[in-house]
């Protein structure tokens, strides 16, 4: 009580609530961020386990550990969990919630209660998604895309899964809405738009996609429900409807959703690179505005998922052209990151290793994306494991590695404890090697003709699949080591101090863990971010 110069941190100060209620009913953005961290990590492990079992099935030709129907259910559930429960909320919900208000000098988000509501909606959606796996007629087997006619004809539990995706979309919309208003209204005095750090910038662009694209998939999924329950006929050719229409509606959201996943990841990398290069970010405005450009152009490229579905040639070259255009702002970011490192005094610490490997993996994912974006080459590799490798390099190698980078960068701030860096670096190496061993062979067998979503394959693909499965288990080892290393900071962590990395954004000016109110006094901003003295 005497020591009131040092306010309680947000973990000690339970705001008068007890036990678990201090978490699940808290409107503190930091506690909500941690709620998301726990839920998302849990689902990541479940999804990863399903992925591992699928790889095990593919270790040799023929049926090894599961039946074809189980395999169909596994890749569907793996997709639903990873996309809707892990990667889409991912960085925004965890680190956006925790650090957006702190980085712009605010005490909380604009609507703390709505923030808590979106977590509860997330949990509701998650429960529905789990129910769809176990209740009724078995887990859905349509693929996470719920394409008609699979989703309208399948006898499995599609309605519950689709409804889960709808509820999760609503949660995502509310998070986006909250962030937009927060960024518009709650920046600290003196923090003009171009004095805002770049992680908040990326969250701003992301939030607009969440708000403007998610409702389209919401209504489309409701159409699937209506199709199944009332024979409404929109996607049924025998009633005059059109299954291709479903694909259009679905990708109008689900392509921008890729940018919901990757933009915050780019934001995280943009924070980490200058901190460990001890140098102001190169091309601040170009990075900020390229986020907006990606969000805007990303709306008009959905057709590149459907080159082989039946579209006019005009539509196809138009979508292909825009797909190439959207690669430009992404490349701008990569060049700026590299230019930031140039002549910097680089300190190779764990977060930097993850950030650097992000750039490497994202480059491979991005450039193979152009192979898929070209009309002629796409016809050859469409729906092969080349596509699987491509989007895992973007989603896992990109968003996933950015998530690992973020957790290693900000964990000392969130909990005030530093992990064992040596073990963290070893875990990074195993994860990075495992990742490439797992996914790179899929490019090769994909070009050779291995289709995706097949539970069996011709003998000539055996070597590729075998290497890939070995990679999966190396990767899982690395991830478990990483999680173990982070978790043991609870008992064995050394105090991290206020600013372990020498960062210059606002979160490094407050104690670790931060107090409930974040700032004793709201700072006044007089300089651009990333000003290293």
């Amino acid at each position: 009580m005497e020591n009131h110069t040092q306010p309680l941190d947000f973990i000690q100060d339970k705001q008068g609530k007890k036990g678990i209620f201090a978490w699940i009913f808290s409107t503190d953005h930091k506690r909500i961020g941690i709620l998301y961290l726990v839920s998302i990590t849990t689902f990541f492990l479940v999804g990863g386990l399903l992925g591992g079992l699928m790889r095990l099935e593919l270790i040799a030709p023929g049926e090894t550990v599961m039946s074809p129907q189980t395999y169909n259910a596994f890749f569907t559930v793996h997709g639903i969990i990873m996309i809707f429960l892990v990667v889409i909320p991912g960085l925004g919900a965890v680190f956006g919630n925790f650090f957006l208000p702190i980085m712009i000098g605010a005490r909380d988000v604009a609507f703390p209660k709505i923030n808590l509501l979106s977590w509860w909606l997330y949990v509701t959606g998650a429960i529905l998604a789990l129910l769809s796996q176990f209740a009724g007629n078995g887990a859905p087997d349509t693929g996470w895309t719920f394409y008609a006619p699979y989703s309208t004809e399948s006898g499995t539990n599609v309605v519950a899964a689709v409804f889960a995706a709808f509820v999760l979309g609503f949660s995502s919309i509310l998070t986006g809405l909250n962030f937009i208003v927060t960024i518009h209204r709650m920046r600290a005095p003196g923090m003009s738009w171009f004095r805002m750090p770049l992680f908040p910038w990326s969250l701003y662009a992301t939030a607009w996609i969440q708000v403007l694209a998610t409702p389209i998939v919401g209504i489309t999924l409701m159409m699937i429900v209506a199709e199944r329950l009332f024979q409404i006929g929109f996607f049924d050719p025998s009633l005059g409807g059109d299954p291709i229409l479903y694909q259009h509606l679905f990708w109008i959201y689900s392509h921008p959703a890729v940018y919901i996943m990757i933009l915050p990841a780019m934001g995280v990398i943009t924070e980490i690179i200058p901190t460990f290069s001890k140098k102001a970010i190169f091309g601040y405005k170009a990075i900020a505005l390229s986020s907006i450009a990606i969000a805007a152009v990303g709306y008009f490229v959905w057709g590149h998922h459907m080159y082989t579905s039946g579209m006019s040639t005009t539509a196809r070259w138009f979508f292909s052209f825009l797909t190439f255009i959207v690669a430009v702002p992404s490349a701008i970011k990569v060049f700026n990151w590299v230019a930031t490192m140039y002549k910097g005094s680089i300190d190779v610490r764990t977060p930097f290793l993850y950030a650097a490997s992000f750039i490497f993996l994202f480059m491979i994912g991005g450039l193979t994306g152009l192979v898929l974006g070209s009309l002629a080459t796409d016809v050859h590799v469409h729906d092969t494991s080349f596509v699987v490798a491509h989007f895992h390099y973007i989603i896992f190698g990109g968003m996933g590695f950015a998530f690992f980078a973020a957790i290693h960068y900000w964990w000392p701030k969130m909990f005030g404890k530093m992990y064992d860096e040596r073990r963290a670096n070893v875990a990074w190496l195993i994860t990075f090697v495992g990742f490439n061993v797992l996914y790179f062979p899929l490019f090769i067998i994909g070009v050779q003709g291995m289709p995706r979503r097949y539970f069996d394959y011709l003998p000539q693909f055996h070597m590729g699949h075998l290497i890939s499965t070995i990679g999966a288990f190396i990767l899982l080892t690395g991830i478990f080591l990483m999680i173990y290393n982070i978790m043991r900071t609870k008992k064995h962590g050394t105090p991290a101090g206020m600013n372990p990395w020498g960062g210059v954004t606002l979160e490094w000016t407050i104690p670790s863990p931060p107090p409930v109110e974040n700032f004793e006094e709201i700072p006044t901003i007089t300089k651009p971010p990333y000003t290293f003295e």
Partner: protein
């Protein structure tokens, strides 16, 4: 923690939410446009089945309700609590009237055997079947929004009554009003698309 109040921010949040609602219906308008283009003759025939008088009546009802909720804001601004309560009350009864009309309209259609999945509908031309599918889907989703709007306005009614919404703090009423205008606006588009283009 000191109470953080930001009326501009709260209104901004509502506007963003309205954008999402417009896009939600936007998906349906897109489907409507595509099928109307594909089956314009069938849509023409099917639209004759709808009762333009009931549709027009409901349009008038919603327009009145939008006016009264807007007037309620002025009443609260001027500190006239009882008038504000009456005006929100009128808005709520108009909403109820809309639902009653809708109930009889749908009831009549279902009585005639026109509903998704009915034997009669399956035998109709494809375009007509899709028209009625859209009719039920779009007006159904709109009715759901009327329900939500009624819940919001009822909460607002009691908050005005208990004095929580008053002349210096009425952003909740403004946001409720904005939402109600959205529900009205969507109907303004549904009405000509479904009832009038015959």
């Amino acid at each position: 923690m000191e109470e953080h109040r930001d009326d501009v921010g709260a209104r901004m949040g509502m506007w963003i939410f309205i954008f999402t609602e417009l896009l939600l219906f936007g998906g349906l308008f897109l489907v409507y446009a595509i099928f109307r283009n594909q089956y314009s003759d069938n849509f023409h025939t099917a639209a004759h089945e709808l009762n333009a008088f009931v549709g027009a009546l409901n349009t008038v009802i919603l327009l009145i309700s939008s006016a009264t909720v807007a007037m309620a804001i002025t009443a609260v601004q001027k500190g006239n609590k009882s008038l504000a309560l009456i005006l929100v009350g009128i808005t709520l009864s108009m909403a109820l009237l809309f639902l009653i009309n809708k109930y009889f309209e749908w009831g009549h259609k279902i009585h005639l055997g026109i509903y998704p999945g009915s034997e009669l509908l399956i035998k109709l031309e494809h375009g007509e079947l899709l028209f009625f599918g859209l009719y039920y889907f779009m007006t159904g989703l709109h009715v759901f929004h009327i329900f939500v709007g009624m819940v919001i306005l009822s909460v607002i009614f009691f908050k005005i009554k208990s004095g929580k919404i008053h002349a210096t703090d009425y952003v909740l009423l403004e946001n409720g009003g904005l939402y109600w205008h959205l529900v009205d606006l969507i109907w303004i588009f549904l009405f000509p698309l479904l009832y009038l283009i015959t």
